[in-house]
Symmetry: C2
Subunit: 223 residues, 2 copies
């Protein structure tokens, strides 16, 4: 990259960081846990959210912001679960940024427990953009292969939590969840790791407990 391009990128990221910080402080003040979900296309972000919706919607207040290049498809799937959802279409841009999230946030109810943000399917670029979340989760699906963390390190380095998805397909694949987790932990030893399946429901309760405890921590920090 030329020097002038690096400067433009730094400028972009710097301005994104400021907007993200302001979003985070507004969310924390309202006692809302913001969760940014990041992964390759088709790793199962929307299917995971459908499962979380089924497990959480009767006892917790949740909402979802969906990011995609095109189509309202993912927001429609979430709304079908009875959960309020807003679709951001980036018209070709490869990631969400804090400004896009900030614009939608005006419409999101102030009385909320969890706001999930499903990023554009891309294991590279979204890692560089803070959206004002408190928790970032990277998803890795079994069919993608257990060699991915070291090939795409930034997504794993910048996350708090690793969600291995599509565990129901493990009998048909050479994927080793322990190898994937070990590699990811070598990059980022603080990662919380969950093995899940949106088909069987495996790991969903553990994940809900994790989000609950992070929400409690956020609220006690605020008190």
């Amino acid at each position: 990259m030329e020097k002038k391009d690096v400067l433009v990128l730094e400028d972009l990221l710097g301005s994104n960081k400021k907007i993200a910080a302001s979003i985070r402080s507004r969310m924390v003040e309202r006692g809302i846990l913001g969760v940014n979900l990041l992964s390759s296309p088709g790793s199962g972000k929307t299917s995971l959210l459908e499962r979380l919706a089924a497990a959480m919607k009767d006892t917790r207040r949740m909402a979802v912001i969906e990011g995609d290049l095109e189509t309202e498809r993912d927001a429609e799937r979430i709304r079908a679960q009875g959960i309020p959802a807003w679709q951001i279409t980036t018209s070709g841009a490869c990631h969400l940024d804090a400004k896009m999230v900030g614009r939608v946030l005006a419409d999101v109810p102030a009385e909320l427990d969890f706001l999930f943000i499903e990023n554009v399917g891309n294991l590279v670029c979204p890692a560089a953009y803070d959206l004002g979340e408190t928790i970032r989760c990277v998803l890795l699906s079994a069919p993608e292969g257990d060699d991915k963390p070291k090939k795409y390190p930034e997504a794993f380095l910048s996350s708090h939590c690793l969600i291995l998805t599509k565990a129901d397909l493990l009998p048909y694949l050479p994927f080793d969840p322990e190898r994937a987790a070990r590699e990811a932990l070598e990059i980022n030893p603080k990662l919380q790791v969950f093995v899940t399946s949106a088909v069987t429901g495996q790991g969903i309760d553990d994940l809900v407990r994790y989000f609950d405890s992070e929400l409690a921590a956020l609220r006690s920090g605020r008190a």
Copy 2:
């Protein structure tokens, strides 16, 4: 995006286009078919290349350029098949560009039939960067879901060929290859579609015939 950022991006893409055009004319002059493989992480680009290597290496001269953010893993897998391979690591950049390919090209033998370029795993950004290839193939694996073409249209619009991969997993998934192909063809009616499995070998012979016929067309156009 701000206007100044759009200008920088146009400048970048314009300069990439010039380098790509020069690569393409050098390759065509040498009678080499350049094939750019583009997909999400873990869609099976390297596994497909391993299968193509086994099918082609005794009767055709092929070489591979591998793109990744980090690690030499993919080039090592290709070399293990007895095929010359060069690894480009982008150190975090989300796509290959023509300049990176041009630098490696100096080392690639001039007497060659096929040069495959495996892009960084990313269904978004690589679509914007011409690498000087003659044929661009987008891969979509069955576990990613048949709803992806319309959500990531540029990759499908800019390709000549769609390779549906991991067909061996179809019995365990809701993926409909016909729906995926239909959606992709609505975006780009000229796409050649192949249904393949690197596990069973399904579709590999058809794909080799396609590459052979494209090579013949390139060489007859040159004559």
